[in-house]
Amino acid sequence: MDLIIDFALLALLALTSLAILRQTNLFAAVTLLAIFSFTSAALFTVMDAVDVAFTEAAVGAGFSTVLLLATLSLVGGGVKTPQVRIVSLTIQAPIRRPTFPLVVVLITGGILVYGTLDMPPFGDPDNPVHRHVADHYLLDSEEEIGIPNVVTSVLASYRGYDTLGEATVVFTAAVGVIVLLSGLRRRDSLGEEAWGEEGLHDLDPGLGASYSGHDETSGEDEKGERPGERPGGGVP
């Protein structure tokens, strides 16, 4: 029974990826990617990786889709397809089929398939990956840490340093997005005067004019509002 579910989920994944390949409408492609993430979360559950399935469903199918849709609403959801002229008529051709990437992909896929012939049997308890540390985690986690979920004990205690690195990476990504999307101007050689009031405005979406005009003479900034007044203040 397990095998049938495994087969079916893998086949569904392969078909979804082919569908993403053939799409020209990016909104449809993003929806198909959400289906792909959910199906892979189901596959993780079948393979007994429940924590990973939870994370993939929440992060991959949830937040990734929201981000991609937000970007598409800012950027536009069409893909440029090549135009073909026939006499005086110009039509949109279907997606071009470049041959060199196809050859590269086939050669790489062939080499990888040749490599999988040497892999240990799928699901065998004697595989090399199950030696070394995994037994120690499963057997000694009860006495040393005392919580039933071994993945949490490994993540937070045995490999806590990696989790610190992960939290820092996530924080750095937030800093990167804030710097890219906040509209801060670069400070050039003129120093403070070249900073401009727009820089401090856009740092806080939603706070608007409250930051500007504190040290300068009171009056209206270029948005036409008095300093200290929020834009559109009051009930929207």
Partner: protein, 121 residues
């Protein structure tokens, strides 16, 4: 039985190659990000499949029970980190795409390259 195990690995290779093909053959920046995400998820599935044992339980210890086979928890931990790091890099990549669109007016790779060479000439 061996063929069934190999079927698993071959589907993962197929998924990776589809993601790789989208990445190198498409010019639209967001399509490239989608291809990269497919590639990444296929690698995660491959990794987790290597840690799974047939007939095993999820690695949550049942108190007082003997003789239960648990799945290997170590690949789970590594892939959990990798998923979160992957979505972080995707967020920064999408912020870059938004800025590129505002600077160039397009997100097609060849049009951006043409604009760059035209401005350098």
């Amino acid at each position: 039985m061996r063929i069934l195990g190999l079927y698993n690995y071959w589907v993962f290779v197929f998924l990776m190659m589809v993601g790789f093909y989208i990445l190198i053959s498409r010019r639209n920046l967001i399509q490239e990000i989608l291809g990269l995400t497919i590639f990444q998820t296929a690698v995660f599935i491959f990794y987790i499949s290597m840690g799974s044992i047939s007939g095993a339980e999820p690695p949550i210890l049942v108190p007082g029970a003997e003789g239960i086979v648990y799945a290997n928890p170590l690949p789970h931990v590594l892939i959990l980190t990798a998923i979160v790091v992957g979505v972080s890099t995707m967020a920064v990549a999408l912020a870059l795409v938004v800025r590129i669109k505002e600077a160039y007016g397009t997100i097609e790779g060849d049009e951006i390259a043409d604009m760059d060479t035209a401005s350098e000439a």
